[in-house]
Amino acid sequence: MTNKIYTLQLILLLTLFWIILFERFTPIIIGTGLCIVSLSIWFSEKYLMESTFYELFPFNIFKLLRYAIFLVIEIYKSGISIIPVIFTGTAKPGVVEIHTELESNILLVILCNSITLTPGTITLDIQGHRLLVLWLNPKTMQPTMAGIYIKGKIEQKLKEGI
């Protein structure tokens, strides 16, 4: 994905947001939307940010959509698996330390947020490649195995690109 396609995708996405806020699909709204979106992207890249959007938040809308669908399925899976714990009332939360191999900041943020979104695990802290995770009924305290249980599939998906 090159810089130009990325900028085009950003402009289209933000114009869609503009149209949704105006609730009208007329040429005037689309035209003003395109102008203001291009202007604001140019302005923030030139004056407000140290680098471009492409370097800071690289994403592909189709891959992001695929990841969102995968994440929703994961949320429902762990949400259903937590129901027996609520009715039996047996919870012994524990703090587990896991390691991740992801490099860029944006991927780390998405990983931590995904872990917190799935019911049953909450990210407490992050230092470099070390994550502290609060886990309802920990199956194991060992970092490698706990990592596979908590973030196995999510990290795999994130490595494929976003």
Binding site: I20, E23, G79, G89, N113, S114
Partner: protein, 97 residues
């Protein structure tokens, strides 16, 4: 037909929220409550909003609900994380007090 499916999904969402609320009252420890209550605002909220979107069909209202859903899904984990992290730093014990 569409409205019936939407209503059914909303009912499922309310059931998820109810289970989450039962969970909050069932545990007496802060961390277990925080973990269980995330069920209310992720699974329950997601199901409710999908139900509302299906009930209204494809319109600007549904798109706005979708935008709110996406923004909530980004902000929600940040709030949970900051609350639990501050409890952890200020020295809450995990076991029974």
């Amino acid at each position: 037909m569409q409205e019936t499916i939407g209503t059914l999904i909303i009912i499922i969402g309310v059931v998820f929220v109810a289970i989450g609320v039962i969970g909050i009252y069932r545990f007496d420890n802060f961390y277990a409550r925080a973990l269980v209550s995330s069920k209310v605002d992720t699974v329950g909220y997601l199901t409710l909003m999908i139900g509302v979107m299906i009930k209204n069909g494809f319109s600007f209202f549904s798109l706005k609900v979708f935008v709110i859903l996406v923004i909530t899904m980004i902000i929600n984990p940040l709030i949970t994380h900051s609350m639990v992290r501050s409890a952890h730093i200020s020295g809450y014990k995990i076991g029974k007090e």
